[in-house]
């Protein structure tokens, strides 16, 4: 009887420790970069001895890879709304809203991803060449269909996707710069709404998106 209980308890401890470590690692990797981050810093932020990190994640690289893949999963899930939508106003509009919300809730993860890609994606190159490439091709097909149906202007799907990624992630990756230009204060709820509305308005207007049922 005690065996399964102890196993369960052990598993719960493991999961909780892994969660705490991953959260601390995400923050430290985002603030210092992979090279600037130290296991000691992450351990301190997680409130654990440094040796315990190596117990759960044998190397710094493995811990890092786990952090990078988490934000990627979150972004992929945010694209569900894209496919089900009847047209660009709903699909791209919802996608912008989802990505802006993620930039607000997970700024650290976004920065870690950006840093990883900027350094040539040494750890997640396989993701780029498989999952991301397939995902992009699928979304480009949807955009081409909308164009063919006359629901938006004939823009290059890839450049439109890059613009969507760039504008939404900018609010996370360059959050410090934006905060500085905002008088040193983080964007308020209203300002986040205004940012989201601006991005939606300019992009949807720029691609000549035509509402299918309701308006913008």
């Amino acid at each position: 009887m005690s065996a399964p209980e102890r196993l369960t308890k052990r598993d719960a401890t493991r999961r909780e420790n892994e969660r705490v470590i991953l959260e601390a690692a995400e923050k430290v990797f985002a603030e210092a970069g992979f090279g600037g981050a130290t296991m000691q810093l992450i351990a301190d932020m997680a409130g654990l001895p440094k040796a315990n990190l190596h117990y759960y994640f044998p190397t710094k690289e493995e811990l890092y890879r786990k952090v990078v893949s988490r934000i990627f999963e979150i972004w992929l899930r945010a694209a569900a709304c894209f496919d089900a939508a009847p047209g660009p106003v709903e699909g791209i509009g919802a996608y912008v809203e989802a990505k802006m919300e993620i930039s607000r809730r997970h700024p650290h993860g976004s920065k870690v991803w950006a840093s990883e890609v900027m350094h040539g994606a040494p750890v997640i190159q396989d993701y780029l060449e498989t999952t991301l490439r397939d995902w992009t091709a699928g979304r480009a097909a949807v955009i081409r269909r909308w164009i063919a149906e006359g629901k938006m202007a004939p823009v290059d799907p890839h450049h439109l996707l890059y613009m969507l990624w760039a504008t939404t992630q900018h609010y996370a990756d360059f959050g410090h710069q934006i905060e500085t230009l905002n008088g040193g204060r983080p964007l308020s709820d209203r300002q986040w709404q205004a940012a989201t509305a601006s991005v939606k308005r300019i992009i949807l207007g720029g691609i000549g998106a035509v509402a299918t049922g309701t308006d913008l």
Copy 2:
């Protein structure tokens, strides 16, 4: 007679060495981040012994600061076209073209800047609070004037500027991702032109820019 000559020659050597070191440093800092970059790597790429780097740039931080400020100066110069323009079609159009050209010619510098800002701008915070803040306020005033003159839709100037920075710099900072999605090949001349045209078209269209004399 020999004194001024030797001084001139010495100065020329110094300038050339500084140039070689800065170029190597820009590349290494972009590819590895500040923490991941090592003086040894930079020295190897510059073809000089490590000790010589410390002769020209006493510390790693000073060398890094010089690299970051260089891309900043380049971006500031690119904005000259913005002010002289009669309206958004010419001004913002020329600005996008200039920024895209810089993303193509100086991808390393753009990445170093992005990395610096993502890590909280520990080295160039003073630039953000003085030069960049003033520059942004000035450009926002121009945009508000164009709006008042009915030359474009009433969009938030700051969010428009963020979008301009995000989209243009994305082609440098996320160049590796774009290249991967392009079948592993760098963008061709034609593709860079298409990217620039896409960005111009969507943004100018999205803000309802009205041509003043010539058309788009």
